[in-house]
């Protein structure tokens, strides 16, 4: 199946099954309206007849010939040849990533927080070092021959349990040689507790760091507040800037959330850029009816337009020779993930799990507290691998709405947690998220092309 769209007066055509992306002229763009992947002897004449008012016969035949050639070479209307790979045997993977919720507590009270202000509705609790160490042992034991393992310190606010973070890193490093593993640590922080010691530690040990900030002061401070209700912009921005300045070339992202109150979120992205952050990401608050601030269908048109607006602004920045990296538009149009990764998506409940302070293992950090997604407990040494099954069957071929979607190899079926919370089932697709995701893919492809 193909998908076509216009961006900056340029005609893009994406052939979903092959991944081929084409820039076509207007006549070819129009011809594609009359093609559905079935080419017959009379097709060419049919199209000539349909478009003869607009283009000459010769021009139509020439463009049609090129489209037909692309079709024959498997780059337009190509067949989907990957379904046979979507087997449990192929997709079942050892565990390689763990989200370690070292703190089910937070020193902030962000109004859109999916984690119930940090405790995930399970009560405020910090992870004991012994539990964290067992989580390290767990991932080593269950990672098979995988060398690079990922551990994300998450919360709540993980720096509220900084000693455990430090000791966990030390413990994991002590096992790397013995088990031939390499840990890549990431931390997601709101920045409140950052000081020189923590900045040094993060910059030396963390492969990646996510700095939570929503952009402009008035936007950030509306939602990202302390427990006393005070805006946090002035508290955290200088600390983030200090961390980034000392970080060198190592990866980081200033990560924002946009709500119905800043549909013009491109201004927030550019504001973060003006603060000196070169690596930025921005995600929508998609919490359904849970929060009043959540993006819903009513705001969809505005969000889609703003995605294009942001894309145009970023292209202009890049073309002016400046450096900016917007995570959400990062897409590798030449290679990208291997086909199995595209089939299985984020790997939740399969190669990725979350561990809570009391040792419970969940299929993903977003479903912590949902009993049906609990897979075991680190402290009790239980892990029911059979509970992987629903996640192994969660491929784009198993989801009705995804099977024939042009974007399926880019989004891999979307976020299971969002599907669960908004549609009641991980196998359903959340339409609102789908529409936004498709626009994001369009923008990403265009961005990569123009820059």
């Amino acid at each position: 199946m193909i998908h076509k769209y216009r961006f900056r007066n340029t005609n893009f055509v994406i052939d979903g099954n092959s991944g081929a992306i084409h820039i076509v002229d207007d006549i070819s763009y129009d011809i594609l309206d009359y093609l559905d992947g079935n080419f017959f002897d009379y097709t060419e004449e049919y199209i000539v007849k349909k478009l003869s008012d607009k283009y000459s016969r010769e021009k139509i035949k020439e463009a049609y010939g090129e489209i037909f050639k692309m079709y024959k070479s498997g780059k337009l209307f190509s067949e989907d040849i990957h379904e046979s790979l979507a087997t449990e045997e192929n997709l079942n993977s050892p565990i390689k990533s763990v989200c370690l919720n070292v703190a089910h507590d937070c020193n902030m009270q962000c109004k859109y927080c999916f984690a119930s202000k940090g405790d995930f509705g399970c009560g405020r609790e910090l992870m004991a070092l012994e539990t964290a160490k067992k989580a390290v042992d767990f991932v080593i034991k269950n990672s098979g021959g995988i060398h690079n393992l990922e551990m994300d310190f998450f919360g709540g606010e993980p720096l509220m349990n900084f000693e455990v973070v430090k000791e966990t890193v030390k413990y994991a490093r002590s096992l790397e040689k013995k088990y031939n593993k390499n840990f890549r640590f990431t931390i997601t922080t709101n920045g409140i507790l950052l000081d020189d010691e923590k900045i040094d530690f993060i910059n030396s040990e963390m492969f990646d760091v996510v700095l939570s900030l929503d952009g402009r002061k008035e936007i950030n401070d509306k939602y990202r507040v302390t427990r006393g209700g005070v805006g946090t912009y002035d508290m955290v921005v200088p600390k983030f800037q200090k961390l980034v300045a000392a970080r060198g070339d190592k990866s980081y992202y200033a990560r924002g959330t946009y709500t119905k109150d800043n549909i013009n979120f491109s201004d927030d992205v550019l504001h973060m850029y003006s603060l000196g952050f070169k690596h930025i990401s921005m995600e929508p608050a998609l919490c359904g009816d849970k929060f009043e601030s959540s993006i819903n269908e009513k705001y969809l048109d505005g969000v889609l337009k703003e995605q294009e607006n942001l894309c145009n602004k970023l292209i202009d920045i890049k073309l002016s020779g400046k450096n900016i990296d917007f995570f959400n538009f990062n897409i590798d149009i030449n290679e990208g993930p291997c086909i199995l990764k595209r089939l299985k998506g984020c790997g939740c409940g399969n190669d990725y799990v979350a561990v809570t302070p009391n040792g419970d293992i969940y299929s993903c950090h977003q479903v912590v507290g949902e009993e049906k997604f609990k897979m075991g407990n680190i402290n009790e040494n239980t892990f029911d691998a059979k509970l992987k099954k629903p996640f192994l069957s969660m491929t784009i071929y198993h989801k009705e709405k995804c099977r024939d979607c042009w974007a399926k190899f880019y989004c891999s079926g979307g976020c299971a947690a969002k599907n669960h919370f908004n549609c009641g089932n991980i196998m359903n697709s959340y339409d609102l998220a789908c529409k936004m995701q498709k626009k994001k893919i369009e923008c990403s492809v265009a961005y990569q092309y123009f820059v």
């Binding site: 055509v13 692309m70 021959g145």
Partner: protein, 195 residues
């Protein structure tokens, strides 16, 4: 009437061809008896998605020359393709190599070196690969080794399990001369590339 005429010319030709074939088999078997076609897979550090460096060892210059002729042919095909850019439809992304390029490369190479490996089996092997990146490929000076860079779409465990088994089965069942595929590293060391 001579004995040859009594036997008939056709029979004489058949006998001659048969003896010649036996000679070819004998010489070929002697020549290739020790020919080991080695495939060694190493982890390509930094790869996040199944990229791997594969070192292909060629025991004879004859094998190496077959490989390079195949390589050059594919390069020529790609060059010609690049020169014929369509006017109305322009593809903006492309792989260095497509599956069919790789299939062609292996078909030529294997059929040259190994004589008649079943095309169907080779296609199965090639299906498992998404693309081959040859721009960094090079010969190792002073040896008969060539280093090629491959990227493939299957996890390496599956690579080991399905592809090399497929190769072995294919060769075992269809090959005229004994040829052995050697995987130097144990499976658990290959696994990192799965990530």
């Amino acid at each position: 009437m001579s004995k040859f005429k009594k036997l008939g010319v056709d029979t004489v030709v058949k006998v001659r061809n048969f003896l010649f074939m036996l000679f070819v088999v004998f010489v070929g078997a002697c020549f290739c008896k020790n020919s080991v076609y080695a495939v060694r897979v190493f982890e390509d550090a930094g790869s996040s998605c199944g990229s791997s460096k594969i070192v292909m060892g060629f025991e004879t210059k004859h094998e190496l020359s077959y490989f390079y002729s195949a390589l050059n042919r594919v390069k020529t095909i790609l060059k010609e393709r690049g020169e014929k850019q369509p006017k109305n439809v322009q593809q903006i992304n492309s792989y260095d190599f497509t599956v069919s390029d790789f299939a062609e490369l292996f078909r030529i190479h294997l059929s040259g070196c190994l004589r008649g490996s079943g095309d169907a089996s080779i296609m199965e092997i090639c299906k498992a690969f998404s693309r081959i990146v040859l721009k960094d490929s090079q010969s190792v000076p002073g040896t008969n080794f060539a280093v090629i860079y491959l990227k493939y779409d299957l996890f390496l465990e599956n690579f080991e399990k399905t592809i090399l088994n497929c190769v072995r089965e294919s060769l075992g069942e269809n090959q005229f001369f004994p040829v052995e595929f050697v995987l130097d590293l144990p499976v658990n060391q290959l696994s990192p590339v799965r990530e």
